[in-house]
Amino acid sequence: MSERDRDPSQSVALSEDLISRVESRVEQTDFDSVTDYITYVLEEVLYQVEGEESDDSSGDVNEDEVQERLKSLGYLNE
């Protein structure tokens, strides 16, 4: 959350009703503020909508190989 504080920001206008609805959700959680909550939701939306993926190097890994490695750790707990 502190990282967010360092990013340059701009103001956005939202209806009081919307703010009020968010406020009532925020006060029961660990979200620090309305800004924090709304930023979290938007980042989640954008992450899904933009389909941002880093280089998916998991694709060049043999899944069976990995499962064997996990077993050889002494357990495959899940």
Partner: protein, 422 residues
């Protein structure tokens, strides 16, 4: 900008380190670094297993999930969504590299995110592997033989630091500074293997026999073995810690000219029959599962002891302090929260530590259980105070707030993920 080295010791308990109060001299190098640097006496790992714990440590955000961690999509999404300390340092101009032989923290789970170089030893071009695959149909026999072969050849899960320390040094010497290097030591993870010259409390026979014995106990509940046998298992664990500590000595010796700042920690703890269990196969958030060592040592790190509880979720911000040439900005909060989800048994776990009070919440299909302990007088967490007359308002408030946050995050994420289908 400072060179930074993150050293993670798998399954290393704080109470088995010298500076953590252990009676054995298991960690002389780490103790010396702790004396000269900043020690966090009450550091808690974010979770009780490598995958969710390291996903939290590298991002600064707890991994919230209600599924089995073996699904690579969970950690992969978490690391990608929140970004890792490697990515942030890379953006600042750091060259980033990692040596991580734990498959649960491999590229398969997205842990290579942000690293210019990531060695997870995931591939073996070993002809024996193909031979076994072709000729053995019994998968448990195959796994056993493969494990014996790997143990002898020090490969895969049994890859001890001495087999790749040269590669680490080569990478550093051929890399542009400043660098961020992550070294993950499996040396302290079961099976507890220690080369002869480093063994102090166990013999070669002990090592083979009690690793085999321990292997029989992992995945068991209500284990009932003699105190002598339990101690033998602890002996081989302690020897593995001493061997792991030697990695730090080697790093200091080989890389001293680079004057790195070291961040050294355990990723989670390990059970030795505090509650009838061994290992860390069964997610739990007692002190033996989450109280880990955390030491920061470097040319510009103050000699200081932090006595308040803290979570390793704060590690990335502390790393950034050093990267930006600042002092460690240590939180004044005395609260640390660990969480985990046991996908096999559908148990959601939250442990909240505030000062010396600790609340453990477990939700499962069979109900909810609450345990509250005063660690100042009951460090072994045996006297549950939940039904006492004492009020633990603050613990309750912190825990319910965190639980609601988890629920909110899961709802947001699941709602948003439906957008993909539109």
């Amino acid at each position: 900008m400072e060179n930074i080295i993150l050293v993670t010791f798998d399954s290393l308990r704080a109470d088995h380190t010298g500076h953590g109060g252990y009676e054995r001299n298991t960690t002389p190098t780490l103790d010396e670094m702790a004396k000269e640097g900043t020690i966090f006496e009450k550091a808690l790992s974010p979770a009780s297993r490598t995958n969710p714990s390291m996903a939290g440590i590298l991002t600064g955000e707890p991994m919230v999930f209600q599924d089995k961690v073996s699904d690579p999509g969970i950690a992969g999404k978490h690391l990608d969504r929140f970004g890792t300390i490697a990515e942030k340092l890379s953006d600042k101009g750091y060259t980033t590299g990692a040596f991580c032989p734990n498959a649960y923290a491999s590229r398969y789970y997205g842990f290579d995110s942000g690293f210019d170089y990531f060695e997870d030893f995931l591939f073996s071009n070993d002809i024996y592997q193909n031979l076994f695959s072709e000729h053995l149909s019994d998968s448990s026999l195959y796994t056993t033989i493969r494990n014996v072969r790997n143990f002898v050849r020090r490969e895969e899960a049994f890859k001890t630091w001495d087999t790749y320390i040269e590669d680490v040094e080569n990478w550093v010497r051929h890399t542009e500074e400043p660098f961020f290097l992550w070294i993950f030591s499996m040396d302290t993870h079961f099976p507890y293997l220690t080369p002869r010259t480093h063994r102090e409390w166990s013999s070669l026979f002990d090592q083979y026999y009690y690793n085999w014995r321990c292997n029989k106990l992992i995945d068991q509940f209500d284990v009932d073995i003699s105190e002598r046998e339990r101690q033998k298992i602890v002996d081989i664990y302690d020897d593995s810690i001493k061997f792991g500590d030697h990695l730090l000595k080697e790093l200091q010796s080989r890389l001293s000219e680079f004057e790195p700042t070291y961040f050294i920690h355990g990723d989670h703890g390990e059970s030795f029959d505090e509650r009838g269990l061994y290992g860390h196969f069964y997610p739990a958030l007692y002190q033996e599962n989450v109280h880990v060592p955390f030491v920061v040592s470097g040319p510009h790190v103050d000699d200081r002891t932090v006595t308040d509880p803290m979570s390793l979720l704060d590690l990335p911000s502390l790393v950034m302090n050093i990267a930006e040439g600042q002092d460690l900005d240590i939180s004044e909060s005395d609260v640390a929260i660990s969480t985990d989800f046991d996908g096999r048994n559908e148990r959601n776990l939250i442990a909240t530590r505030a000062g010396d009070k600790k609340l453990l919440l477990e939700e499962s299909p069979s109900g909810t259980s609450i345990e509250i302990y005063d660690l100042a007088v009951d460090p072994g967490e045996s006297d549950n105070l939940v039904h006492s007359d004492r009020s633990f308002k603050r613990l309750w408030s912190l825990t319910t707030s965190h639980l609601r946050t988890e629920i909110e995050r899961i709802e947001i994420e699941s709602t948003v993920s439906d957008l993909e289908d539109i």
